[in-house]
């Protein structure tokens, strides 16, 4: 190869180094400039708005909401379309509830009593997974009853089931289309990306606008939230099927349908089961949050308890959610690995046949018994154990509060005064055009003109909602939580990425952490830090950390051996290796983990509106409860969406930029 050819990439490399250097200078100058002008002009054009006052836009939304309310039963769009959907979904959900959770007619118990359900679900767990999971399901379900939340748990389960069934009915066929037709996939991907970025919260309001508050809305909102994972993973599952086997099938004269049925779907099964797992977990997470729009179940207990600051009760119900989450996750995960085992032909199906028959008979017997005898229909007892747990939790929290009040207070105060307040003051007191301009410049530096345009639209949109000041309050919390999340992500990510042992120990915990619905993270922190934005921030950090850590760890572990070896060969010590070799090589992972961290944090900070975090989340919640604030709640939802897009796009651009530099 000629010398001239070799020097070309070198030149490019140099150019990119210069560029990166420049970006660093730009960003530094931008921050300095922003702080200077924000402080200089503080108090000007901060666009504050009292909770009770409305802008014309918010009043207009109120009117829209009123109009919908008034025309719900007369306008054909509603009577022939929206209401039909609502009624059918309602019927569907109520059907499932009648089956497992709500007592029907004169009967004291639902169609299937607790014993029937426990045995049936354990049996199902055995058939789709294995005996260990079946036992886990049995114990888990009984403990839900012992907690005193049998009916609430079954309500949550019923809603989750209904939503999952609908989500799969829609998501899997669409996913198959996306897997088969690249053009279709290209069209829907932006929507999926968008859906993924949105905090769970913002789905609630628009849906209630059309479908009213209640189980139907809760199911729809949950379904909408659960469709993207079902769709996406189904498409991925089909992509994963080796093209060579599809081509072979076609070469033998298969029709498209035959290739799909006989070749692609059987091979995609395992990944599709993983998709079902994700769908169920997303649904459970959403169903608990849908308690805000009156979805029955455990979530409602948590919300009520949180609102009245009843730590014990919220802990008790939170525990129930955790149990339910673990059961559903374990069962579906084990089902996926069972499909795996079947694919690798480790299990013979014949062997299990007798056990299955026996189990089936026992299940039918249990179903009958639960129908006939009251003790097997309604879960006996009054949840004494549950109240005990609630009391213990209260006691412990009280004890901690009594003994460590100084510690928790000083943590709260320290962080509040040292970090949150300065940032919040800076942002809320800065003129909107200064902050907005800073965002646009940041977008320009990181992503170019197109991103700057998107950012301008987002900034102006937020101003348009009339909630600029509240958005800045939320942003402050998000930034603080995100900084902490990224720091944790780096520390733990480096640790896990560098050590196989650490990976083995931490990975299951991180996975478990990601499974839990957002809600339950609030509970323990509420106990420790009370109803403050600090609680919301702490919960957000804990909620977001697993995703951030995992991405970081994968990035560090993924640094090519050739690079690390070169570092070692150059005589770097451990610290130098991390700082000078591994972290810089994992820059893309860092950017991605920042992106994910911010998305998760935003979702949680908003939920934190429930426990006094203020800002946009609080307004969304208020929108549900106070009629005259509906429009404001909607506007707040919109502001969250815009803020989400803004933060997501900018951090994505940062990630894309570091990829670009690395490939050069």
């Amino acid at each position: 190869m000629s010398v001239a050819m070799l020097s070309k990439p070198e030149k490019e490399l140099k150019a990119s180094v210069v560029k990166r250097y420049k970006v660093g200078i730009y960003l530094g100058a931008l921050s300095a400039g922003f702080i200077f002008f924000a402080v200089l002009m503080r108090g000007i054009a901060t666009l504050p708005l009292d909770t009770s006052s409305l802008t014309w836009f918010q009043s207009w939304l109120n009117n829209v909401s009123d109009w919908i309310g008034n025309n719900q039963n007369s306008n054909p769009f509603f009577t022939f379309f929206i209401n039909v959907i609502r009624d059918s979904i309602n019927a569907f959900v109520t059907g499932i509830q009648d089956l497992i959770s709500q007592s029907i007619g004169n009967n004291a118990s639902p169609l299937i009593g607790w014993l029937g359900i426990v045995v049936l679900l354990s049996f199902v767990a055995y058939t789709v997974a294995n005996i260990r999971v079946a036992i886990l399901v049995f114990v888990g379900l009984v403990s839900l009853g012992l907690l005193g939340f049998w009916q609430e748990s079954m309500d949550t389960l019923a809603l989750t089931l209904a939503a999952v069934v609908l989500a799969l009915l829609i998501g899997i066929p669409l996913g198959i289309c996306a897997g088969l037709f690249p053009r279709f996939e290209k069209v829907i991907t932006p929507f999926l990306d968008f859906a993924q970025v949105m905090p769970t919260f913002v789905y609630l309001t628009p849906v209630t606008l059309f479908f009213l508050i209640g189980p139907a809305s809760a199911t729809i909102v949950t379904m909408v939230y659960a469709i993207p994972p079902a769709l996406r993973i189904t498409a991925v599952a089909l992509h994963e099927v080796p093209w060579s086997s599809v081509e072979a099938a076609v070469s033998m004269g298969s029709t498209r349908m035959q290739a799909l049925r006989k070749v692609q779907l059987p091979q995609a099964k395992r990944t599709m089961v993983v998709g079902i797992n994700q769908t169920i977990m997303a649904a459970l997470s959403m169903v608990t949050i849908a308690a805000l729009i009156d979805a029955p179940g455990l979530g409602k207990v948590v919300v009520t308890a949180l609102e009245s600051l009843d730590i014990g009760k919220s802990f008790q119900a939170g525990l129930g959610i955790v149990i339910l989450a673990v059961l559903l996750d374990r069962t579906t995960t084990a089902a996926a690995s069972k499909v795996d085992a079947e694919n690798s032909h480790l299990v013979s199906r014949v062997r299990h046949r007798q056990i299955l028959v026996a189990g089936g008979i026992v299940t039918i017997a249990a179903l009958l018994i639960s129908r006939i005898y009251n003790w097997a229909g309604n879960f006996p007892g009054t949840g004494v154990i549950g109240s005990d747990i609630a009391r213990y939790a209260d006691d412990i929290v009280n004890w901690i509060q009594n003994h460590f009040v100084n510690v928790t207070n000083s943590i709260t105060n320290g962080v509040s005064y040292g970090l949150i307040n300065p940032i919040q003051n800076l942002l809320t007191n800065s003129p909107w055009f200064i902050t907005g301009f800073a965002f646009v410049l940041l977008a320009m530096i990181l992503g170019g003109r197109k991103l700057a345009l998107i950012s301008t639209v987002c900034v102006l949109g937020i101003v348009g909602t009339g909630l600029w000041s509240d958005t800045m309050t939320t942003l402050a919390s998000v930034l603080v939580a995100a900084i902490a999340t990224v720091a944790i992500g780096i520390i733990f990510g480096v640790w896990i990425g560098r050590s196989k042992r650490a990976d083995q120990i931490m990975r299951p915990m991180l996975d478990a952490g990601q499974v839990l619905p957002a809600f339950v993270y609030l509970v323990p922190f509420l106990g420790l830090f009370g109803a403050t934005r600090f609680t919301a921030i702490m919960a957000a950090i804990v909620y977001a950390a697993p995703a951030s850590i995992k991405l970081m760890a994968d990035g560090i572990a993924g640094v090519p051996a050739s690079i690390t070896e070169a570092g070692i060969a150059a005589g770097s010590n451990k610290w130098q290796m991390i700082v000078k070799v591994q972290l810089p090589s994992a820059r893309r992972a860092l950017a991605l983990s920042t992106n994910q961290g911010i998305i998760y944090v935003l979702a949680m900070v908003v939920v934190g509106g429930l426990v006094g975090a203020g800002g946009l989340g609080y307004l969304v919640v208020a929108g549900f409860t106070q009629l005259n604030l509906t429009g404001k709640g909607l506007a707040a939802g919109l502001a969250i969406v815009l803020l989400g897009i803004l933060l997501d796009r900018i951090t994505q651009a940062a990630a894309a930029r570091s990829t670009l530099e690395r490939t050069k």
Binding site: S244, S245, A249, S251, S254, Q267, S344
Partner: protein
């Protein structure tokens, strides 16, 4: 049996516009840089006779796989005609195409393309299954071909439980299950180690003699091509540069590319006396032993060396020329041809 006429395949955004434009004459990389298109198959024409083994050779990326996929329309050619028993298969509809694939053509893939979730027997029976053959019947037939390729006892195994060579036998058995008229084999043995490869080649030769199938066989191994092929086509950058019998290629390569291809091949094994016989010189003795022109140099070596006078090469009582040990040595050592 098969006639390929002026077939083109251009990958890229505006394939049809390239053909016939001046751009078509650019080299691959130039075209790629200029328009982003790749000409994978360039104006290819040839015929395959019934019962013939037609080998396609060429370096990696020369378009062999694309060509063979075009022939069964797994890849849609950009332009051209392909006749199978007089029917232009590029013009037939989906249904007829599937019928041809189900009953007339079979393909064996470089990377096997087995269905991992099916047992060996169900892999082999797949095409019968989609032909609507009953389970009993198709398993019966599958067992027959399993025996044919020497996989007795492995019917109930899954592909991943077999070695590479065995997997390729499954691929071969699958292709034979429907009793096709034409077999397309795309580098079927490239992934196999030399010993298994030799076995499999013997297998194909046996099958060819036993069943008399027409085959289009792709390889980039000249030894394999010479061993199996009745005729060989050499491809470069999508175009065919030469078609001929192994002997013709070795004896008279059309250009440097082909010459390069064949230069390391032991010529004495394909060259016959016809190619090395020369006019007798004036004072040469013409009483030596007589050999026919169709014997390879390799097989006549002993006689040539042992004879003190030039060997006479005669056909139908006609003297074609003479060969001495000197002439033969220059062929074997490669200084000639």
């Amino acid at each position: 049996m098969i006639s390929v006429r002026h077939v083109w395949k251009v990958f890229g955004s505006n394939p049809a516009q390239i053909i016939g434009s001046p751009d078509a004459n650019l080299s691959r990389s130039e075209l790629r840089n200029k328009t982003g298109n790749t000409i994978a198959v360039r104006d290819v024409s040839f015929d395959v006779a019934p019962g013939e083994v037609f080998v396609v050779m060429g370096l990696s990326g020369s378009g062999k796989s694309t060509l063979v996929r075009c022939m069964t329309r797994l890849i849609e050619p950009t332009q051209g005609e392909i006749f199978f028993q007089g029917e232009d298969i590029l013009k037939v509809d989906e249904k007829r195409l599937r019928e041809l694939r189900k009953t007339r053509f079979s393909m064996v893939f470089q990377h096997f393309g087995l269905l991992p979730h099916r047992k060996v027997i169900d892999n082999i029976a797949y095409s019968l299954e989609i032909n609507g053959v009953s389970k009993e019947e198709r398993h019966h037939r599958a067992n027959e071909v399993i025996e044919l390729v020497g996989l007795q006892g492995y019917g109930q195994a899954y592909p991943e439980q077999l070695s590479g060579g065995m997997q390729q036998r499954v691929g071969l058995a699958r292709a034979l299950a429907v009793d096709p008229q034409v077999l397309f084999l795309d580098e079927p043995f490239s992934a196999l180690d030399p010993l298994i490869r030799r076995d499999m080649q013997a297998e194909v030769i046996r099958l060819h003699h036993q069943l008399g199938k027409t085959m289009v066989f792709i390889t980039h191994d000249l030894a394999e091509a010479v061993k199996l092929g009745d005729r060989i086509a050499i491809m470069r950058d999508g175009a065919i540069v030469q078609i001929g019998t192994p002997e013709e290629l070795v004896a008279a390569p059309a250009d440097d590319y082909v010459a390069n291809f064949v230069q390391d091949f032991p010529k004495s094994q394909v060259l016959t006396l016809r190619w090395i016989a020369r006019k007798p010189e004036l004072n040469e003795v013409l009483t030596g032993p007589i050999l026919p022109p169709t014997v390879t140099v390799h097989n006549s070596m002993r006689q040539i060396v042992e004879s003190s006078v030039p060997i006479r090469v005669m056909e139908n009582g006609h003297l074609l020329g003479v060969v001495t040990a000197q002439d033969m040595l220059s062929v074997v050592s490669g200084s000639e041809f």
